[in-house]
Amino acid sequence: MTIANSTELICFFVLASVVVVGSLGVVLLENIVYSAFLLGGVFMAVAGLYLLLNASFVAAAQVLVYVGAVNVLILFAIMLVNKREALKPIEGLQVRRLISGFVCAGLLALLMRVALITPWEVPGPTSIGEEATIRIGEHLFTDYLLPFELASVLLLMAMIGAIVLARRDVISSDVGTGREVTQELIEKTQEPLLVDKSST
């Protein structure tokens, strides 16, 4: 085994264990801030796995989108609404945990079975390396144009939705229940401090 091969193997095992342990931490940790930071670590490790597969553009895009945008926004939301109050105890928490544990174990078993019985081609297709950027662009603007555009429409809808939810002065009733909402704008318009009021 050459040095390059063994380095790759070590990197793979380190990254894979980071992904597995990190995602378990995301789900199981009590502190939501730790979960969010760990999620960033998991995204980074996934980007590392892409790098190992010679897909550097996908790795960089993963870091930019998932770590730089999604995870930062999650952290932002958590820290802006950081209420220090104890959560209400949920009824039947143990039973819920057991059920979700069973569902997850079943899913894991299914995926393991799929991974084991599929006749994988070893070694897989050779990676195209740096040409991948061009190839991805070609695909996005030819045969994957419709999903690409639909995704942008989806993002636009999410953005408009967020603005409508945040601007209560536009819609003053709750969209779901129809009740009047008396939530005011968080930031009120302020008068400048230094204007001399006596002169006007």
């Binding site: 980074m44 730089g68 932002f76």
Partner: protein, 384 residues
């Protein structure tokens, strides 16, 4: 100021001197396997760039102290070395021996990890900065995109240290830093995209080579004047330099996310911000000012003097000229940034977000559109 940079012993032009080849050949001559020799070679350029980055920070700190002194009609550091040139060393030494304080009830793990997460992506981005044709650590194909991706990790470190300090000023500073960095990354990326569109490549080496066909006249600043200005504004905002240093606005937030930090952890923030400044200046020079290129192409000069391009003398000369030009351009921009810091007032947070979202973003989009149109109409001038 320039002589402290050693001439980087990387790979020079392929037909001429190839230091990597000679180094590995020498080690193979000692009986090592080729793989092991390559493994021993790998850390050398990285170490050299790391040292270069840190020395660059020392120079920048000294420059900042001197220029700020001149702007305020003071003398500035004077006693530590000639013209106070050893002052940054003294600063660093002081931070090194200071007590490392972790505040009571702060989250010590995240508190320690925060500064590291701020510094590491910035240092890693030096991977793609070219000082010459082959004078860079790695000519990765995704090049400049890697830098954009890496710089988007930084806000996580800022949020982390802001949260872990258990201090309202720190948290506010961290949130401001993240908001600022997210909003200014978009126009920044759009400006880079316009340059990339003209180059047809993301690699920093290709971007510089495309500009240097006939020296000064083909630099991107003439083809992308708007992009240049927007990129520079956004780079200053990403570095949290003074017109945009809201995350650490000392009159409002004490020192923002770094309020609770002392000693080496504070030094990591300090180092990170200055490395980021030098890196941004280097990237402006790579993207818009022709990178390592001399205003008159070296090939013309060599042809004028009837020197073959492959001769060792011309190669060493070209490489040193490239390094000097890159650093000269970068430090001119650093000087500009320092002047801006000591002459402009800070913007308010609403002005900052207005400028980013309502002004820079539309203009950079229009710039991208116009570049695309010009590329279709004049494929010769705008990279067909």
């Amino acid at each position: 100021m320039l002589s402290i940079y050693p001439i980087a012993p990387f790979v020079l032009l392929t037909p001429g001197i190839d230091l990597e080849f000679s180094f590995t050949e020498a080690l193979i001559g000692f009986g090592l396997s080729p793989q092991l020799a390559h493994l021993l070679w790998l850390p050398l350029p990285m170490l050299l760039v790391l040292i270069g980055a840190v020395v660059g920070v020392l120079v920048t700190v000294w420059l900042e102290r001197k220029v700020s002194a001149a702007a305020q009609q003071r003398i500035g550091p004077e006693y530590a070395g000639a013209l106070g040139i050893l002052q940054p060393m003294a600063d660093g030494l002081k931070l090194l021996v200071k007590e490392d304080v972790i505040p009571h009830r702060a989250d010590s793990l995240l508190f320690t990890l925060g500064p590291v997460l701020v510094l590491v992506p910035v240092v890693l981005s030096w991977l793609i900065v070219p000082f010459g044709q082959d004078l860079l650590i790695s000519n990765v194909g995704v090049g400049i995109f890697l830098w954009i991706a890496l710089s988007s990790i930084q806000p996580i470190g800022l949020l982390m240290s802001g949260y872990a300090s258990n201090n309202k000023y720190s948290l506010l500073g961290g949130l401001r830093a993240a908001a600022q960095s997210i909003s200014y990354e978009i126009p920044l990326a759009l400006c880079v995209l316009a340059v990339v569109m003209m180059t047809n490549s993301l690699s920093t080496v290709d971007i510089v080579e495309q500009q240097n066909s006939s020296g000064l006249l083909t630099w991107n600043i003439w083809r992308q004047p708007v992009g240049f200005v927007i990129f520079w504004i956004c780079a200053l905002a990403e570095c949290e330099r003074l017109p945009f240093d809201l995350p650490e606005a000392e009159e409002e937030l004490v020192a923002g996310y770094q309020t609770e930090y002392a000693g080496m952890k504070f030094a990591l923030f300090y180092l990170g911000s200055y490395i980021n400044l030098v890196l941004s200046a280097l990237l402006v020079s790579v993207l818009y000012l022709g990178g390592w290129g001399f205003p008159i192409p070296v090939e013309w000069l060599a042809g004028l003097l009837r020197q073959p391009l492959e001769s060792p003398f011309v190669q060493v000369f070209t490489a040193s000229l490239g390094i000097v030009m890159t650093i000269l351009k970068a430090y001119l921009l650093v000087f500009l940034a320092i002047l801006l810091r000591w002459t402009t007032p800070r913007v308010r947070i609403d002005q900052l977000l207005d400028l980013g979202w309502k002004f820079l973003l539309p203009i950079s989009l229009v710039n991208l559109l116009i570049t695309a149109a010009l590329k279709l109409v004049f494929p010769i001038a705008f990279g067909g």
